[in-house]
Amino acid sequence: MSEEQDMITDIEVPINLKYNFTAGAAATRFLTQVKKGVLTGQRCPECAQVYIPPRGSCPACGCATEEEVELADKATVQSFTIVSIPIPNNPIQPPYIIANLVADGANISFLHLISECVNEDVHIGQRVQAEWKPEEEWTHAMDNIRYFKPIDEPTVPVDMIGKLPVTGLEG
């Protein structure tokens, strides 16, 4: 074989960062509730914003947040991305949708998947609901919810997203 063919042209240099993640008090409360199939936020005593997942303080005011608010498992699409390119080691096969969703009763979005939908029909303001795994599979993790799927409710006007009560647009 010629030297040209033997030449090293690329190298595999994987990076693996090992973490020990400690949830902290607020996230622990949140995940303990998620294990029971309940989404909870915390309300800021100063500005009244409800955060999910709660971090124990309000990022806007800096106040400690303690009051817990049980939220619906219905949400509104705030923004979304249709992922078409596979990511190494990600078990989810594209195309799939990852979205910023605002749960009813919350003011801030969280990231989750949208499925059981026509990807091209997904839109901002769309109403979705959690598709939970079977109860016996629930752990301290947001993937107790497999994904959110569209429900037959009217689209939420953009300026109302993040301002719905726990009972939703029509409640």
Binding site: E3, D6, M7, I8, T9, D10, I11, E12, V13, P14, I15, N16, L17, K18, Y19, N20, F21, T22, A23, G24, A25, A27, T28, R29, L31, T32, E68, P88, N89, H140
Partner: protein, 146 residues
């Protein structure tokens, strides 16, 4: 409201990178696979190991490869008392700047030694090759005292 015990979990964040070596680093790695070490000649005549693609002073493209020796001397070193999992050795060792014979700048690699005080700046070391070489820096398993 009762506070549950705070949750804790280990996890690994992993990225699968494949890096293009380019013709210069590629040549260095190819040489390692063949159990030799090459540097490159800079505009001022210095031999730089591992080879650089561009001259550090003039920024000119460099291309004159030079094979250097497999022995050299320790320019400086730091003793690692408690190796971590990612380290190349599972017993205490040194990270060292080793100036190979024929090279004008030192390169960093690990040096195996029984004790820290057996090492010194100026000490002579030689490359120990891995049983199987693949074209990676770990083809030089370590350096050890001559």
């Amino acid at each position: 409201m009762s506070q549950p015990e705070v949750l804790n979990q280990e996890f690994t964040l992993g990225y699968t990178y494949t890096r293009s070596t380019g013709p210069v680093v590629g040549r260095f790695l190819t040489a390692l696979k063949n159990r030799s070490i090459v540097g490159i000649k800079a505009s001022d005549g210095r031999v730089i190991v591992p080879p650089m693609e561009y001259d550090p002073d003039t920024a000119e493209e460099l291309s004159e490869f030079v094979e250097v020796g497999q022995e050299g001397e320790i320019v400086s070193f730091a003793w690692v008392k408690e190796p971590r999992e990612a380290h190349p050795m599972d017993k205490p060792f040194a990270w060292a700047m080793v100036k190979l014979d024929g090279a004008d700048v030192p390169m960093i690699h690990c040096v195996a030694a029984d004790r820290e005080d057996s090492l010194a700046t100026g000490a002579r070391v030689k490359a120990v090759w891995a049983e199987e070489t693949v074209g990676f820096i770990t083809d030089i398993r370590c350096f050890e005292l001559v």
